[in-house]
């Protein structure tokens, strides 16, 4: 994305070396944190509409040449917002504090999310921070970055890329006998101005997921879905987002975690890949969620595979508090 890589129009490099786009239509999609899920949804529309038979979708980030916080600040209003805004983490810290104040969620519950996700990451060869022996104490004694967020409550800055191949039904048969099928894609925007929002939850996740569940025939997401890859930029966010996505009632994100439901061994594992807390190459991050959901549906997750996955949810989250939801299935939705 512009500003993060220190160069605008980085897609101009897609001709030959970086991606096989030479003499083919190349479309750039950049929507902030949701870039990867927007890419995934655009890829779906391009093929599902019948316009293209095969599409290659690539998301990437090369963060060390930019500076995510600085880049993110430039996405906001120069007069009202930029002077005090501290990129993504400042507002996310503020949201975490408001969420905690409203529902009594504790720092220990947040730390448990990091422990879960970074332990999961140890099973994922593509994860950035693999910490099989991480403890709650280790997270809770790490440096305070932006109260209540400690260093290990926050996602890292990663470099990385992710690519997905899309094909229509006919072409798919030539490629694989084990594809992942799209069941639903949804985007929800809510944002008009930063401080219009409630800030203690994520209304767009509720709007987008409700629509997606309806399309995909999902009545109870925890029972009807088998796994979710959600976009949790902080440990606190995962707890809050699980509520907004309807996995539990408002205020019960901590309880859902404490009951072990979202663990690898639980009824409904969240982020077997290690999630965003373990790997965050921003422009690829939400596409990784979709790729990991597809991996689970195709049964190719090896050590991070959840048994017998029929349906998986992937979520993208962006700086202006918008949400994208994709639901994939082992069988086509008829």
């Amino acid at each position: 994305m512009d500003h993060f890589e220190g160069i605008n129009f980085s897609e101009l490099m897609c001709g030959i070396e970086a991606a096989p786009g030479y003499l083919k239509p190349v479309v750039k999609v950049a929507t902030g944190g949701t870039t990867g899920s927007s890419l995934a949804i655009c890829g779906y529309h391009n093929v599902a509409s019948g316009i293209y038979n095969n599409v290659l979708v690539i998301g990437w980030e090369k963060l060390n040449e930019g500076g995510a916080t600085t880049g993110i600040i430039t996405a906001f209003d120069p007069v009202w917002e930029r002077p005090s805004l501290a990129g993504a983490l400042g507002p996310l810290a503020l949201m975490a504090g408001m969420y905690s104040a409203k529902y009594g969620i504790t720092a220990e519950q947040a730390a448990k999310v990091t422990v879960k996700n970074r332990s999961n990451a140890a099973n994922n060869p593509f994860a950035h921070l693999q910490m099989p022996n991480i403890t709650i104490d280790y997270v809770m004694s790490s440096q305070m970055i932006s109260y209540p967020l400690r260093l290990h409550d926050c996602c890292p800055q990663s470099e990385g890329a992710c690519a997905l191949i899309y094909a229509n039904e006919q072409e798919t048969k030539k490629i694989t006998d084990n594809p992942a099928w799209f069941h639903a894609v949804e985007t929800a925007h809510y944002y008009t101005f930063g401080t219009d929002d409630k800030m203690y939850d994520l209304p767009t996740a509720t709007i987008a997921s409700k629509k997606a569940y309806k399309k995909a025939g999902i009545k109870n997401p925890v029972k009807d879905l088998d796994v979710a890859e959600i976009y949790e930029p902080t440990s606190w966010s995962e707890l809050s987002w699980t509520e907004a996505l309807g996995f539990c009632k408002p205020g019960e994100g901590g309880k859902l975690l404490d009951e072990g439901i979202t663990q690898m061994s639980g009824e409904f594992p969240i982020n077997p890949s290690g999630g965003v807390l373990s790997t965050n190459p921003i422009g690829a991050t939400a596409l990784v969620r979709v790729a990991e959901a597809a991996t689970q549906v195709m049964g190719r997750g090896e050590k991070r595979q959840v048994p017998d996955v029929e349906k998986a949810l992937a979520m993208g989250f962006g700086g202006s508090l918008w949400t994208e939801i994709l639901i994939l299935g082992k069988e086509p939705l008829r």
Binding site: T74, M98, P148, T195
Partner: protein, 162 residues
């Protein structure tokens, strides 16, 4: 002598580029900054349909799609309630200055008395244990005001409110 990876001397070309541009802030914001500079007043805008008071002033009510004009602007109290806060404690380049943003600093959202939306600004406290959602706060103005958001230096917690 062998050097560790990452310590090799690299060929470097350094330059600086200015990218000036004009940003239209709209008539309501002009009025806001005029009142702030001349009269130390904080203004919001009130939707004529739903009555929602926007702070900072907005030209369109997002819920009603109703346009608001300078005539719809009302004065707000410089006092309000702390709704959310953090203490930013990490270094980054400030795109407004090109230099490092001084840290740590208190960053918060407030609901000014009479307003329905949040106001975002600095809070004059870097010890997070001293901040609490629900605390009363007030704006501290700059002596020589210039007509920008920096004319409100920060908000401070009111110890004993009358």
């Amino acid at each position: 002598m062998s050097k560790k990876k990452g310590q090799e001397k690299v060929f470097e070309i350094k330059w600086k580029t200015d990218l000036p541009y004009r940003y239209s802030i709209g008539k309501l914001a002009v009025k806001f900054f005029e009142e702030l500079k001349e009269n130390k007043k904080i203004m919001g805008s009130k939707c004529s349909k739903c009555g929602k008071v926007h702070s900072p002033p907005r030209a369109v009510c997002a819920e009603c799609f109703i346009e608001m004009t300078v005539e719809d602007m009302i004065e707000l109290s410089p006092r309000g309630t702390l709704e959310g806060f953090t203490v930013v404690n990490y270094p980054f380049t400030d795109p407004n200055t090109g230099g490092l943003r001084p840290f740590p600093y208190g960053y918060a959202i407030f609901k000014l008395d009479g307003a329905d939306t949040y106001t975002m600004h600095f809070v004059d406290e870097t010890d997070y244990t001293k901040l609490k959602v629900g605390q009363r706060v007030e704006a501290v103005f700059k002596e020589k005001r210039e007509g920008n958001i920096g004319d409100i230096l920060y908000y401070r917690v009111i110890k004993n409110e009358d």
